[in-house]
Symmetry: C2
Subunit: 120 residues, 2 copies
């Protein structure tokens, strides 16, 4: 069986390959790693990348949704660049609560935090 | 750590959750299962779902790229519906060769097979 995660054309990339991609700030510090992508069900448009950051062996790790539009793929770095520094990231919206429910209000707060046009 | 694959809002779905989703034809026959999603790198738009079908324990299984625009999510079935019967699927373009390279020509042939507007 072909490993679909290896299949990329010049312009396409497999979602499985995006997961695990590093995320950097513009000065080159690694902020975290993409865990998953949130897509609009109907259009199939990626709206958020969910980035994990910090912790050790999965404990204490936090997950941050980043608006897709705030991410730029940097070929030379082999990762995404988002215009936010580590310090600011510490106060960014997370989705770590056990009973987390994604509401439009929460989505708007995420988009606002990163100065991204809102999806909601 | 929160399992991001469980997080859905009304309109968003995690890519990891799409993977494993069943694909049906309009008469309700199961055609296969989504293995991965191919996204446009820049826009983050889902262009193809890669569906696996047939085989046993991963042997003899084939992988078919389906244009995203040819898929409809059916809430009652809990899966995607694509307008193609099993027989026609047997001759559909696959990506199983070890040395597979995704070219624009290949992409156009996939889009044409399903009567979808071409991405290329």
């Amino acid at each position: 069986m072909t490993d679909v995660t290896k299949i990329t054309s010049g312009s396409l990339i497999a979602a499985d390959k995006v997961n695990g991609t590093d995320v950097y700030n513009p000065t080159g510090d690694k902020l975290g790693t993409v865990d998953d992508i949130m897509l609009d069900k109907k259009s199939g448009q990626a709206i958020y990348a969910v980035m994990s950051f910090g912790g050790f062996l999965g404990m204490g790790e936090k997950q941050y949704p980043l608006p897709w539009s705030a991410l730029t793929y940097d070929e030379t770095k082999g990762g995404f660049v988002v215009n936010v520094d580590k310090k600011r990231l510490e106060n960014a919206p997370t989705i770590d609560e056990e009973d987390f429910v994604w509401t439009p209000d929460y989505g708007r707060s995420v988009d606002k935090y990163y100065g991204a046009p809102t999806y909601w």
